[in-house]
């Protein structure tokens, strides 16, 4: 056991943890965005409500276990990322007076902690409005009605869209970086993984951002 703790807390191991938890969270995002698109179905939330009920049912034991894993991995990913950032910052010491970092590295790769931190704050608010209210609390309305109500607030919707743009920044670097961390790099497939990751990440975040845009501008325009 001692060797394992040492392994996952070494400089390479910490990054391995970031990659594996990150890829798990990435898979979750794919599931989440596909389900969210049910909200665009013009059936007054019928399909979405069925989905939310099946997903949230206490009898859905496998999902309850995965859900626990999801929260655990999310926290581990966040805390581990903050630790990496802190120790790496200390390793650099005095910053340069002039540093043209844009000449040698991508913008996204240099601002993972910043994009990650804002996404974390977003997630706290996001979980409070939906997960805490509708899964743990005793709301008077259905989740669909809650979604409609929440996104009718422009401030909330625009913060949501802003967070999705940052999530896209985060994922664009994250996807290809995870494979590099796993040691999966080869001229055969790395160029493909890089482009595939960019496209998929933008699609995921655009899918999420579509929801507030829809409820803010399109949903009521047609009337019920």
């Amino acid at each position: 056991m001692g060797w394992f703790l040492k392994f996952i807390d070494s400089s390479v191991g910490k990054k391995l943890v970031m990659a594996l938890t990150g890829l798990f969270l990435y898979l979750f995002l794919i599931e989440h965005v596909i389900a969210n698109l049910l909200l665009l179905n013009n059936d007054n939330g019928e399909a979405y409500t069925i989905y939310a009920e099946v997903l949230g049912s206490s009898y859905n034991i496998p999902l309850r276990i995965i859900e626990f894993g999801l929260f655990f991995f999310l926290l581990y990913h966040s805390i581990n990322g903050a630790r990496l950032w802190w120790t790496n910052r200390k390793a650099k010491g005095i910053p340069y007076l002039v540093n043209r970092a844009s000449e040698n590295s991508s913008f996204f790769s240099r601002f993972m902690i910043q994009s990650g931190s804002i996404i974390f704050i977003f997630l706290v608010i996001h979980l409070k409005s939906f997960f805490v209210n509708y899964r743990l609390g005793n709301p008077g309305d259905t989740m669909y009605q809650g979604v409609v109500k929440t996104f009718e607030n422009p401030l909330y919707s625009w913060f949501y869209i802003f967070a999705m743009i940052l999530l896209a920044f985060h994922l664009v670097h994250a996807f290809q970086s995870a494979f590099q961390t796993l040691g999966l790099r080869h001229n055969k497939y790395t160029p493909f993984l890089k482009s595939f990751g960019v496209i998929l990440s933008i699609l995921i975040c655009a899918g999420f951002a579509l929801i507030p845009v829809y409820f803010l501008y399109l949903h009521n325009a047609g009337g019920y």
Binding site: W3, S10, S11, K92, Y96, L97, G183
Partner: protein, 253 residues
């Protein structure tokens, strides 16, 4: 042959303990045929004549193979050009009247000794920890006793090109020495002679890297972009595979 008048902003620091500061110098009549180190030689001659302390910087071969010189020039390790060392940067790449900012490599693992000169002995200690092969001495073995495919020896040499200048650490926002360590690990593991100690080597070198206070790699790829020898990010992926393999195999680590 044109001549340049330049404005320099140079980091001056008396010793390890001194806090250090930037000092401005104006210098006239610099030939475009000079290297940036020769420009500093001219500046130092002037400073000595004036009775002040010349700017300390490290250099040796001045032809891009020894790895001694290394200055952070205008926000880039070894200056704005790709795949060259500081000594190979010529003044023709600067404009008349330009301000040139000269800073030492910044990393906890590379403490500044004086001015632009840093202590890179941490790299020596990382190599001493495992960046070698151990063989019995004796009569020279037959040249073809160990068959090595041409492709493998070429790949090993690609990694062996590293001159240990430290530009990777300097360019990395985490001051990680991953490219340096990986280049050595990949160089040796790509050859049959390096295989017997592969597990021991990757642990020892990485442990030493962490002990020296270098950061960890977050795949920004700045190191590879600034490497004067163009060492590929492939070696870092290879180091990780080596580390995972060794972790699963080794009894004690």
């Amino acid at each position: 042959m044109a001549e340049l008048n330049l404005h320099l902003k140079v980091w001056r620091q008396k010793n390890k303990e001194d806090k250090g500061r930037f000092v401005d110098y104006d210098i006239q009549g610099i030939s475009t045929e000079m290297s940036i180190l020769e420009m500093l030689d001219v500046l130092n001659e002037k400073l000595i004549k004036e009775g002040t302390d010349p700017v300390a910087f490290e250099h040796d071969c001045r032809e891009g193979v020894c790895g001694c010189c290394g200055i952070f020039i205008n926000g880039r390790a070894h200056g704005p050009l790709k795949r060259i060392t500081t000594c190979q940067l010529y003044m023709r790449h600067f404009k008349d009247g330009e301000t040139i900012v000269l800073e030492p490599w910044r990393a906890k693992g590379f403490p500044v000794l004086k001015d632009l000169m840093v202590d890179r002995s941490a790299f020596d200690r990382i190599i001493a920890a495992g960046g070698f092969i151990a063989v019995n001495t004796g009569g020279a073995p037959d040249a073809n006793a160990v068959p090595i495919p041409k492709h493998n020896s070429e790949k090993a040499l690609d990694a062996a090109e590293c001159i240990g200048c430290g530009a990777c650490v300097a360019a990395c926002k985490n001051a990680s020495a991953m490219l340096f360590v990986s280049a050595k690990v990949a160089h040796l593991v790509r050859l049959p002679q390096g295989k017997p100690e592969r597990e021991k080597r990757v642990f020892a070198m990485l442990n030493q890297m962490e002990k020296e206070g270098f950061g960890s790699c977050t795949n920004t790829e700045a190191c590879s972009a600034e490497c004067p020898k163009g060492i590929s990010m492939d070696v870092i992926a290879e180091l990780r595979r080596e580390y995972f393999r060794a972790s699963l195999k080794q009894e004690n680590n």
